[in-house]
């Protein structure tokens, strides 16, 4: 199989380039893309990428495979390979540190901006705060985010305004706290999101939904936030 990998080493290369590898895929199992990267690294130890849990929960190995973002460790070859060829590129829209490793600072900064922690200024009870199963259910589809950045780096609005538009991952978490029955900072959170960029740059393109490896739906969460902002304004 022809594997084409984006290569860039700031110590050596002036510009990035695609390097082709001809890889014999061992028969039997349908390998994951991460397995392929590990095989490549045995051939050429200079190929660099992030990886850790190899089961799709740590969010380290978000890459772009034949044009689509996803986690290398849970993407089987059968799902992405077209005419016996696989191109692996770093997540788009973020500065490349080396090869498939991108600088995720802007992504993390947007996450931090939405105050991703529970705010409740009332003194806590001696036990847990109670929450009904119905209220808890509202967090499903939100808290599972693994911060892999597949969605945000697939979003054109984020490409244009990475410093101003929070992006789908950050907004998903913003809604996770807005809707948590235990959080009391709704007003403060909404006030921080009402400008023309943070939320309203979402154009409903829905790339985020189509690439999320955990099957989450940031566009829907963004819609909910917009409704909350409108209700608050009128």
């Amino acid at each position: 199989m022809l594997i084409s990998v984006y290569r860039y080493d700031p110590d050596k290369d002036i510009t990035p380039y695609m390097q082709d590898f001809d890889l014999e895929i061992p028969g039997g199992r349908d390998l994951m893309v991460l397995d392929v990267l590990e095989l490549l690294k045995e051939q050429d130890p200079t190929v660099s990428y992030r990886r850790s849990c190899r089961e799709g929960v740590c969010g380290s190995d978000g890459v772009n495979m034949n044009g689509k973002n996803g986690l290398a460790c849970i993407t089987p070859l059968s799902e992405v390979v077209k005419s016996d060829k696989l191109s692996i590129r770093p997540l788009p829209g973020l500065p490349v540190v080396r090869d498939l490793v991108v600088d995720m600072e802007q992504f993390y900064d947007q996450y931090k901006k939405i105050k991703p922690y529970l705010i409740n200024d009332e003194p806590p009870p001696t036990q847990e705060r109670l929450q009904s199963p119905e209220d808890r259910e509202k967090l499903d589809g939100l808290y599972e985010c693994i911060l892999c950045a597949c969605c945000t780096t697939a979003c054109p609005s984020f490409w244009w305004n990475p410093d101003k538009f929070v992006g789908p991952a950050g907004l998903l978490q913003a809604y996770r706290f807005l809707i948590d029955s235990r959080d009391t900072a709704t007003e403060e959170r909404l006030a921080g999101l009402e400008d023309p960029f943070s939320v309203f740059r979402c154009r409903g393109i829905m790339n985020c939904v189509s690439v999320c490896p955990k099957g989450l739906n940031p566009t829907r969460a963004i819609g909910h936030i917009r409704n909350m902002l409108l209700k608050r304004a009128v």
Binding site: P10, P45, E55, V57, R98, Y117
Partner: protein, 591 residues
């Protein structure tokens, strides 16, 4: 020795998993100058993979529940070499620890009355084993570790903790007073080596499950903490005790939570027989993990394994129904489909015992202070050096950890360690400067790798051989003959690794270089494991010897201590003096 940049802190924490971040949270609130250094971004730490939950007697499922019952279970689960003062501390502090996480925002699953949902886990009983199965494990669906890790990271953001993400610790820096004064570390993005100076250094580096071929552990769980500690000349405790989780997905090793069996799933052999009824008539599939893992291997050995080669058994879940599976075990459905290509709603999941947890580690007291037993067997505290979480051996897990106690260990002792460091800093800590030669020593192995020429063997090849050796000779069942073979192989590997080379000399994000440094650590832990496993001539908890099948309390009701300077095994007394309850005397352990 060239000058390297120096960063200064009151305390540093190496590792940003549950333990490291809980300690960091405590320290951040003290206003001290602290930093967490981690080789991955905090939420990528392996705590994220924990599924089932965190055990704590909060009395949501059963209002009568008592932390002392939890303590009894834990002592019994440890096969009586868990330190009872530490277990007492952990179990009694557990409810407060869980409430605190909930207040921080952890999205626990809920009961109808709005309290935290608790599920049954292995080895859990009511009334000191007399009252039947308990449900004591607090859960956020089957993603408790993920929820816990993200919540702690969020808590740290709120508290303003300083993180050095993607910094890799090379070695401990030890001053002439034999105190620890920080670590040497590489900034991965630039490749620049720094000396991170600190008056207190906390290791929260997690486990080393990657010494085995088949493991539920992340690729980065390479025993960096124990490796650094051994090279600095400090001992490891009970390092032969490796937990094999009964349900890793066959062939891939991906974890399937014990919560599956807690919710009513069970194991079957190729004939569809629920075989655990034969091995553990009372607790059945919810016996201790060591017991279940051994039973599975025996089934397979007796020719009742499923699959083409008869080398795994099956975990049946379909009878639980779609609703329970979707609400309680959604992550498992996903993992089974991705990695085993089965839909657990319709077919059972192929599973096999898979290396999961390192019960041993750096011996510490309940404040997280690392202990180095001297020649007379007396505990000596190492100044400025702390360890917490899987990398530490307090010891609350002894010879076998109960499910749900790992996450608890992280937060309870993370907090305790933070508290102790604040107190120690306030009282003034030794901070004699490290000399040039001290720093040199902490950079020696990096220089060795950096100067290696291209002719040596490759790191991935040697790593694979090491993992295969450990899998074959130090797995679920062990015996003298094969362990001797394994030990010879490790001696050979040590020589070959000394001549191995790194095929990438670039500065920026050089992962080949890091994998070489990790291989050093794997080797240290593997060797310690081998020597202790060979030396402990009995069967206890996860350590099952075919040539010494019985527990030997007369000689081995003790911690094993591995001394790296002599490469020999010695013993350390188990603590049998809890402060508020009578000690639990060793009894025959059946489920």
């Amino acid at each position: 020795m060239s000058k390297i940049p120096i960063l200064d802190f009151d305390a540093i924490i190496v590792g940003a998993g549950g333990a490291g971040m809980r300690a960091a949270l405590q320290l951040a609130e003290s206003g001290r100058n602290i930093a967490v250094i981690s080789k991955v971004f905090p939420t990528r730490s392996h705590t994220v993979s924990a599924q089932g939950g965190i055990t704590s007697a909060i009395g949501s499922d059963d209002p009568e529940d008592d932390w002392r019952w939890h303590m009894y279970d834990t002592v019994k689960g440890s096969d009586y070499i868990g330190d009872q003062d530490a277990i007492e501390y952990m179990c009694s502090a557990a409810p407060e620890a869980v409430y605190e996480l909930e207040h921080m925002g952890l999205p626990f699953s809920r009961t109808e009355s709005g309290r935290i949902y608790q599920r049954p886990f292995g080895g859990q009983t009511k009334d000191y084993g007399r009252g039947g199965q308990a449900s004591r494990t607090c859960a956020a669906a089957d993603r408790t570790g993920h929820a816990l890790l993200h919540t702690l990271y969020q808590g740290n953001l709120k508290a303003g903790s300083v993180f050095f993400s993607e910094w890799f610790a090379i070695d401990l820096v030890k001053n002439t007073n034999d105190a620890i004064v920080g670590v040497t570390a590489i900034c991965m993005e630039t490749g620049v080596v720094h000396y991170i100076r600190a008056r207190a250094t906390v290791f929260a580096t997690g486990g080393a499950g990657r010494i085995y071929q088949s493991t539920t552990n992340a690729l980065m769980n390479t025993g960096d903490g124990p490796g650094m500690s051994l090279r600095a000349g400090y001992a490891l405790q009970d390092i032969e005790m490796w937990q094999f989780h009964p349900t890793g997905i066959a062939g891939v090793g991906v974890l399937v939570t014990e919560g599956c069996r807690g919710e009513g799933g069970y194991l079957i052999n190729k004939d569809g027989e629920r075989f655990m009824e034969r091995y553990a008539p009372n607790a059945k599939d919810l016996a201790g993990r060591d017991v279940v893992a051994r039973s599975m291997i025996l089934e397979i050995r007796d020719g009742r394994g499923a699959g083409e080669n008869g080398d795994y058994v099956l975990l049946k879940l379909d009878h639980l129904g779609e609703e329970i599976l979707h609400s309680r075990l959604p992550g498992i459905i996903e993992l089974a489909k991705t990695f085993a290509h089965v839909d657990p709603l319709k077919e059972p999941i192929p599973v096999e015992p898979t290396c999961h947890y390192m019960m041993g580690g750096l011996p510490t007291n309940i404040h997280g202070q690392v202990i180095s037993p001297d020649v007379n067997g007396n505990d000596q505290i190492i100044n400025g050096f702390y360890a917490v979480g899987e990398t530490a051996c307090v010891s609350v897990h002894g010879a076998n950890r109960l499910g749900g106690n790992a996450l608890l260990d992280l937060v309870v002792f993370g907090r305790a360690t933070g508290l102790h460091i604040i107190q120690a800093l306030n009282e003034g800590m030794d901070s004699a400067e490290a000399s040039e030669s001290d720093l040199d020593a902490a950079l020696a192995r990096l220089r060795r790798w950096d100067e290696s020429d291209a002719s040596g063997e490759s790191v991935p090849k040697l790593r694979k051989e090491l993992q295969a050796c450990m899998q074959l000779n130090f797995g679920v069942f062990r015996k003298e003959e094969t362990m001797q073979k394994g030990m010879h192989k490790l001696v050979e590997l040590r020589q070959r690794i000394a001549g191995a080379s790194v095929g990438d000399k670039s500065a920026a994000f050089n992962t080949a270089r890091l994998e070489a440094l990790e291989l050093d650590n794997l080797l240290e832990v593997a060797e310690a494991t081998a020597i202790c496993a060979e030396g402990r001539k009995e069967s206890r908890g996860a350590h099952a010897r075919e040539d010494y099948q019985d527990r030997d309390d007369e000689n081995w009701l003790a911690h094993s201590i591995y001394q790296p300077t002599t490469r020999k095994l010695s013993k350390r007394k188990v603590n049998m003096q809890p402060k508020t309850v009578p000690a639990f005397e060793p009894m025959i352990r059946t489920y």
